[in-house]
Amino acid sequence: MQDQINTHTISVLVDNEAGVLARVIGLFSGRGYNIDSLTVAEVDDGAHTSRITVVTTGTPMVIEQIKAQLGRLVPVHRVVDLTVETDSVERELALIKVSGKGEARVEALRMSEAFRARVVDATPDSFVFELTGRTGKIDAFIGLMRPLGLKEVSRTGVAAIARGAEAM
């Protein structure tokens, strides 16, 4: 139980000041923690706060350490472990470039409809799909595109928010 490695999604509300992202990333690299995905953007331009969503893996003791270490960074307002503390919604956006002709091209388009992906760019021999969903859904779609001419993928990483009326 203590040695079991789990994946956690952690939301960190920070002051949007110079170097704050470097502090967070430096903390993870300096202490040997994993970053599976990391998303950051300003969320309140009046209050100058940014929200960092980090997906990480570790034993329960390591996850507890990560939260405590994040919490003691001076520009950090709040740290919430969305995996443990709340029920949450997680989404990721991906842009996926597929090239091909004939049957493969038709199959790629058909699959994109099944996954509710949107075509945001098209040429006679390529598509760029925009797909939103949980990480697993995007992984599945990319897997399906691989034999159909997958060229390139750009993913945002996970953005997450707690369900319900409460704010973090």
Binding site: A22, R23, A68
Partner: protein, 585 residues
């Protein structure tokens, strides 16, 4: 509407308003405007060191012996990079420090300008927080915030990097009272429910032990008083980490001595066999725990710490209490008294009887020698001849540091300055300089080794310049002793690069600096030589020639458990260190 002043004037005004009386620094191109302001005022005295690392350790010694923040001023580039060791040292040992660094002008940042370094980038992992001041308008707020962050919560070093154009720019000053921080709010009071539970657990303990650390010292003199009261009230044994020495008086019968790798037999066995461990302001460092899976296997562990990230980092604890030691102990004592709790007297008597059997092992005994000076004997004699409330001890790092911790005894907090976490050789002389600046009339002694002391020897020049009568007491065994000891125990006695070749003549070296040199080579001349050192008005380098291959015992070999100690009598025995142990430092 108040008048404006320059950035450099703001720096000096802010230092004065923060009550700063001394700063340790070294000038350079990027801090010239600040040095110009220092020249034109008298409230803040600048101590010119000989190397920026010396400034940081001096500030540490100053801070640890007074409880006030140490302040450092260095230039950009090499000034800042030379300060990195001391900043890291202060971070590891939770020393409040504000380090102001000059920076190239804002329009030159990122251009690889002369003496440019990415100071905030370099110091980010070795400071509690750091700032690059891009506008003079932000300067007053940032300076006051820096002092606030450095001195509150778990103390630590804060860097304020000020570009040269910002030092010239005009802005309005703001007084410290107007500073309020949005996000930084350390927890001071402990959770009262947890304190109730702790009192309950402590009152039922049959084999309890207090394990106190540097957090007690950092919390202030009141924390030490409260600790003493609580320990007296319970009748429990107490041990402490290297950083916590002095918080509890070593003359007290409840004192077990220091614990850990070179701690006493009784302290380590009490930790191993206890049923309730009360950790007050310590952090389960690897020097303390030894092999983690065998660390105090049968105890309930209470952990009081102001830093939530210290909880459950190395050792899973049963009852964490996040808060300042003095505040938590005050509440704990109040609850203890109001409930009229009585500890289990019968169980305690048995526990103390067990501890006495360990004490009778006399783990710090060593074979006397009447021809050569044993290092342990040198520290014992130094202690007997210099002890007192007005004596302050600093150390370098290595065997001499451990012998100082074992054989010098402390009755009061803030009298013991050593580099615990980072283990920085070269800490002792500049730290002594800092202590002496804060306590001009005190007897300040650096218990040193001949190898460490050469790393920052240049600071003797600082001591001579400012007439700081520091005493550098070198246990000279012509080896990097702790390196040699590990090579003896773990690497087949192959002393790779651990012999101190081509040593200077320390007596002549002292004289060259304008200090006094004293040498003692025989046990029968030691006392007189120490007395002469004490009587000497100025700085002294004391070259105490000691036996060369003495090992520091007791010792828990790396990767071993507390009940697996090596004692002095075992010298010469082949020890088995596991492969897992060999990779440990």
């Amino acid at each position: 509407m108040s008048a404006t002043m320059t950035g450099a004037q703001i720096v000096l005004k802010a230092l004065q308003d923060q009550g700063v009386e001394h700063i340790f620094g070294y000038p350079g191109g990027a801090v010239l405007p600040i040095y110009d302001e220092i020249f034109q005022q008298d409230a803040v005295e600048h101590i010119l060191v000989r190397h920026e690392q010396g400034a940081t350790h001096a500030a540490e010694g100053y801070a640890r012996s007074t409880g006030k923040p140490g302040v450092v001023l260095v230039t950009s580039g090499p000034g800042a990079t030379n300060a990195v060791t001391g900043l890291t040292d202060a971070l590891m040992d939770s020393i409040p420090m504000v380090c102001i660094t000059g920076q190239v002008a804002t329009h030159l940042i990122g251009n690889d300008a002369f003496q440019e370094a990415d100071t905030v980038g370099i110091t980010r992992p070795c400071t509690k927080h750091n700032y690059l001041v891009k506008s003079a308008d932000d300067l007053p707020r940032i300076l006051h915030e820096a002092f606030h962050v450095a001195t509150t919560g778990r103390p630590g070093p804060v860097v304020v990097d000020i570009p040269k154009d910002v030092q010239f720019a005009e802005a309005k000053y703001m007084r410290p009272t107007a500073v309020k921080h949005k996000t930084y709010k350390p927890q001071i009071k402990g959770d009262i429910e947890a304190i109730y539970t702790a009192v309950d657990l402590i009152s039922k303990a049959k084999k309890p032990v207090f394990y106190s650390g540097g957090g007690v010292i950092n919390s202030g003199p009141q924390a030490s008083q409260l600790l003493r009261e609580f320990v007296k009230l319970t009748g429990f044994p107490i041990t402490s980490t290297l950083m916590g020495l002095g918080a509890f008086p070593s003359a007290d019968p409840q004192w077990l001595g220091m614990l850990g790798m070179h701690g006493t037999y009784e302290a380590n066995l009490a930790m191993h066999d206890c049923d309730v461990m009360i950790n007050i302001g310590a952090r389960f460092d690897d020097r303390i725990t030894g092999r983690l899976d065998a660390f105090s296997p049968n105890s309930k562990k209470i952990h009081i710490d102001i830093d939530p990230s210290s909880i459950n980092k190395n050792v899973a604890v049963d009852l964490p209490i996040v808060g300042d030691v003095a505040h938590v102990l005050e509440d704990m004592l109040r609850v203890w008294k109001s409930r009229a709790v009585e500890p289990d007297k019968k169980a305690l008597t048995d526990w103390w009887a067990e501890i006495e059997t360990w004490r009778r092992r006399k783990c710090l005994a060593y074979r006397k020698d009447d021809k050569a000076i044993k290092p342990q004997y040198a520290v014992e004699r130094l202690y007997e001849l210099t002890k007192g409330p007005n004596t302050y001890i600093t150390t370098e790092v290595g065997q001499h540091q451990m012998w100082a911790a074992q054989y010098y005894r402390f009755e009061e907090p803030n009298r013991w300055m050593t580099s615990g976490g980072l283990g920085t050789m070269g800490y002792g002389i500049p730290a002594a300089v800092g202590v002496q600046v804060a306590h001009p009339d005190a007897l300040v002694i650096d218990i040193a080794g001949e190898a460490s002391v050469l790393m920052t020897m240049q600071e003797i020049s600082t001591a001579v310049q400012y007439r700081l009568p520091v005493k550098i007491f070198i246990l000279n065994n012509e080896y990097m002793g702790m390196v040699r000891q590990w090579q003896e125990l773990l690497h087949g006695g192959r002393y790779s690069s651990s012999y101190s070749e081509a040593l200077p003549d320390f007596v002549k070296l002292a004289e060259a600096y304008g200090a006094t040199g004293i040498r003692a080579e025989k046990p029968d001349e030691l006392d007189d030589a120490i007395r002469k050192m004490i009587k000497t008005k100025g700085p002294v380098i004391f070259d105490c020639i000691v036996t060369k291959e003495e090992n520091c015992f007791p010792m828990i070999p790396s990767g071993a458990a507390h009940n697996d100690m090596l004692l002095a009598d075992d010298q010469g025995l082949d020890i088995e260190v596991s492969d897992a142990g060999k990779v440990m430092v």
